[in-house]
């Protein structure tokens, strides 16, 4: 069997070859060697990938408030504890506790003997239908505006079916998501205001599939809370077609989800103290919670493992960052962002000085770049590092970025909020579904992401931002 050491020797040989073109450009020659070492180590190590396997397969889905979320907190705390970091700690945060209950039932009822089961999944935070379920006519709309125009007369007593698909012409799938997700977030309130009794939302995916994609929805004070579910894209196509031939068909949905009292949970934090400016903090993070349907692999097990991997790479390669590097595994991104908000509150209360926060929450896919939400100087500084990053496929250094969990830090001093951008093509095939599993993660793609984040963290740690 070839030892890891032997594999590493091959790596060293490769380093010499690949580092040369970068060095030739005289851009921080020593930095290019350090960065190459991080990639070499990341690409030849299986530790982070095996950790992801544990998180997804042994712990599994870990929605806020669930026993599995508690297990993930304790496991990841122990994991970082064993790494010999300068500090590992938990940060208390009260989180919502929503539970799905029984597997949902969704059925198109066109006539007495004409029924068809379709796959639905309650949206996060949704109320249930009661044990007996809900049966009503369906009104299909493509937008909140279209619903508004229909008015109370056509909506009252019905299930509103939001069926605007992803615009597949977008090259970046996140743009398609942004264009469509208002239906999921704001649809139920808009429908309830007009007297609807339930909501179905076409799943947020580019693909035509049988699996429903859950995701959070929001209710508003003073507006009736009505049950809301995601319907698979194939189911949505089927329902839309059925409505064309029989506009009076009924849809039956049964969901026993409910919201229980808030639960005490934690952000899990590990850090390496800066050797020269320990008071300047660089955060690298992902979210530890996941939806309850799959294994939370790409969303966001990979982001958490990559964040820990950044610390491991620095430790293993003997890199002593000049500024403090802190990995934060945020709790409750999916249905509340309570962890992200708590982290920012405490940072403010303690007067901590964050100079940058990098979030990985777009999947463990092959790296494309970073989105930088910062001032002109910060963006220019990152752009100046492009010769060091581009050899690893990091070409997209765009303005605007960040992420849900680091968002609450915005405005604290001059912190730059940076979103890691992996390739987006496959993300919404799996996002918030039962098929977001370990098997969908490629070790190399995930590790390239970790090395990309480590490279940027290293540069910020050396030169500030």
């Amino acid at each position: 069997m070839l030892s890891t050491k032997k594999l590493r020797n091959w790596a060293v040989a490769a380093a010499t070859v690949v580092a040369m073109p970068v060095m030739a450009q005289q851009h921080h020659a020593a930095d290019s060697v350090t960065i190459r070492k991080m990639y070499d180590n990341a690409l030849t190590s299986y530790e982070s990938y095996e950790n992801l396997r544990y998180l997804t397969k042994k712990i599994g889905a870990r929605l806020s408030g669930s026993p599995q979320a508690a297990a993930a907190v304790e496991w990841s705390r122990q994991l970082m504890d064993q790494m010999g970091l300068d500090r590992v700690y938990l940060q208390e945060v009260m989180v919502p506790h929503w539970v799905r209950g029984d597997k949902e039932i969704g059925r198109i009822e066109s006539g007495k003997k004409q029924t068809a089961e379709v796959k639905i999944a309650a949206l996060g935070s949704s109320v249930g239908t009661g044990e007996k379920g809900l049966r009503a006519e369906v009104i299909e709309v493509l937008s909140l505006e279209e619903l508004e125009k229909l008015g109370q007369e056509k909506v009252k007593g019905k299930i509103v079916f939001f069926n605007r698909p992803f615009n597949n012409a977008h090259v970046h799938t996140m743009h398609a998501y942004r264009d469509a997700v208002d239906q999921r977030g704001a649809g139920p309130v808009a429908a309830a205001k007009l007297g609807a009794v339930g909501v179905l939302v076409r799943s947020m995916t580019n693909d035509l599939q049988d699996v429903p994609h859950t995701g959070n929805t929001r209710y508003a004070d003073g507006v009736a809370k009505i049950p809301a579910a995601a319907i698979s894209t194939n189911g949505a196509e089927q329902l839309s077609k059925s409505l064309k031939s029989n506009p009076n068909l009924k849809f039956f949905m049964r969901m026993t989800c409910q919201t229980l009292p808030d639960v005490l949970s934690y952000n899990v934090i590990g850090e390496i103290k800066g050797s020269e400016k320990p008071e300047e903090i660089i955060v690298v993070g992902g979210h530890l919670d996941s939806w309850d349907l799959g294994e939370g692999a790409h969303d966001d097990g990979t982001g958490c493992m990559q964040s820990i991997e950044v610390l491991r790479l620095m430790r293993e390669l003997g890199i002593k960052p000049k500024r403090t590097v802190r990995a934060v595994l945020f709790m409750n991104e999916e249905n509340g962002v309570r962890g992200g908000r708590k982290y920012a509150e405490e940072a403010k209360a303690k007067g901590e000085k964050h100079i940058a926060a990098i979030e990985s929450d777009a999947g463990g896919f092959t790296p494309r770049g970073f989105g930088i939400d910062g001032n002109d100087g910060q963006y220019a500084k990152v752009l100046a590092w492009k010769p060091l990053l581009a050899p690893y496929g990091l070409h997209d250094l765009t303005r605007g970025g960040g992420g849900a969990d680091i968002g609450p830090l915005k405005g604290q001093g001059t912190v730059a909020l940076i979103g890691f951008s992996p390739d987006s093509q496959r993300y919404f095939d799996y996002h918030h579904t039962e098929i977001d599993t370990f098997e969908q993660v490629n070790r190399r793609e995930m590790q390239l992401g970790a090395a990309s984040m480590a490279s940027l963290v290293y540069l910020i740690s050396e030169y500030g931002l």
Copy 2:
């Protein structure tokens, strides 16, 4: 159900948004709109993807000389025939006809009751072991050089086990392949020269897996032909470990593969005549044959479907190329490149003027760029188009490239040989195995590749090279 037309309307809206930054740079404003239209159409069409499904699921594996290869020829000819192209034709080529025979048996025999089955697959072109199989001691080496040094005394009568792994530190996996594949291609001859009776080669993959990766090997005149098989990477690790504890263990291998007489087969060709310079030809192609183990999805069903998609996009969008655009589905890339050689021979004999040939044979993954094997002027011209291509993730416009099937065209006039470069991370997970199946292809990634190729073909057709 949302009609395709409706989806296309969404696409048009998106076109306006995305085309702007490119137009603002004043680089061929009209071209940027045309390119955007090709991406819009490709990303919202399911035709090519459904064709790939047919090729992989209904026809399946299609090694040269097999009935399935004949089916693939006839099916793809009919497919292009129905597209209303200016010309669709077959080009005769005699191809090797190697057959695998029974499923191979591989077994580590450490003692009477200590045996372990490991997965092996005969290398293409290998001779068999005879019905009774072959049993011999094993000598493990990491390179041809190491084997050479061992000499006849230590090798004679044994099975040589080439076990140098992929160097995972390479960011581009193709580099790891190039570093390792000499073991598969040249190993059997080198081993036979020293009196070995068989060869095992560690599978050409970055991953640790149970599936063996086949691939072609070569014999030499005057050197004994000995049976050669790929062993899965997990099997290789196991065998290497077993040899450490018991250097005298024996390995049993049974393979009934054989080479039958050559068979008449075909390259399948379809073209759109150039409106202004029909004599200048741009080839876009992939190879229609595949290894016999899986479905030949990424290798190279996607390349074939993308090549046809280039023609479909031009037809559907009413683009009349100024120069002739020819899609070529080459036969026999995997074990002979007879189709590629025949194509170049006939081109030369007819005095055809090829100005560029683009090959897609690195998988249907998310696009990264193109590798250009051409003169300084040709490379500079492609680089000047970068502002039109980079918005679609095509940043890697590197020198050097081409491909196996278009390689024989080299030197005919000033033809530029161009290899399409998709992201390389997952290619060798599937390459030449039973898991290179339709399910591993993401529709959007494949279609982005087709649109990337169509964009470059379009630009060359407009401006020459």
